[in-house]
């Protein structure tokens, strides 16, 4: 199926462990994004990527690392998980103007709990 897929859907990890959240899109969209969603904060941009091998920081990048070796994949790694990183993480991809808006499509999210 075409779309944007995040895995895992749910993850529990321990403080200090490294964890990687996966994101895969089938449209070959140039832009991809990682957001985190927390109560009272809405969605905040962690990292974005304009193309393969081009990534840059968003509003809240500390403690996260991204890579994009292929256009379709944009994994997010928490190098040493902390409890403050407990959140719901959304990956999104974007195409050019479609007439209704920029074709910004979100995945279904990964709920990460750090204990």
């Amino acid at each position: 199926d075409a779309g944007i897929t995040q895995s895992p859907r749910y993850k529990i990890t321990e403080t200090g462990r490294q964890v990687t959240l996966m994101c895969h899109q089938t449209w070959s969209h140039s832009y991809m994004f990682w957001y985190r969603q927390d109560l009272g904060h809405g969605l905040r941009l962690i990292y974005y990527s304009a193309a393969a091998d081009i990534t840059d920081k968003g509003e809240v990048p500390d403690g996260y690392v991204v890579s994009r070796s292929k256009t379709e994949n944009f994994p997010l790694t928490l190098e040493s998980a902390t409890r403050s990183q407990t959140s719901v993480y959304f990956c999104a991809s974007s195409e050019s103007w479609t007439g209704r808006g920029y074709g910004y499509t979100f995945g279904s999210g990964t709920r990460l709990t750090v204990v």
Partner: protein, 114 residues
């Protein structure tokens, strides 16, 4: 450094009523203002969007009103239905190195009662 301020935080409307959610922004370089709808357990989905060259955009029961001089925009949901119960996010964006990375408001939880 919340770039988009959204109100109210929560809203209860009776079926058939009008739901109104407001947003304000500071950065005059923003030139794209979408609204997203999110149901529990799902990712946000684009509902309707506007660019600042028009003051209003309507799609079915959903209307965006845009006031460029006041740096405010709002979402109106006419004839609200229980199926509209969801969290709504306004956002603002501009073309930059990040493409059109979205700056979101904190969200409004809408409940439409039967």
């Amino acid at each position: 450094q919340q770039q988009v301020k959204q109100s109210p935080q929560s809203l209860i409307v009776q079926k058939g009523g009008i739901s109104i959610i407001n947003c304000a922004y500071e950065n005059t370089a923003f030139d794209y203002f979408p609204w997203y709808q999110q149901f529990p357990g799902k990712g946000p989905a684009l509902l309707i969007a506007i660019r600042p060259d028009v003051s209003e955009k309507k799609e079915g029961r959903f209307t965006i009103s845009f006031n460029k001089s006041a740096k405010q925009f709002s979402l109106h949901i006419m004839d609200s239905q229980p199926g509209d119960s969801a969290t709504y996010f306004c956002a603002a964006s501009m073309n930059s190195n990040s493409g059109y990375a979205l700056n979101f408001g904190k969200g409004t939880s809408l409940l439409v009662t039967p």
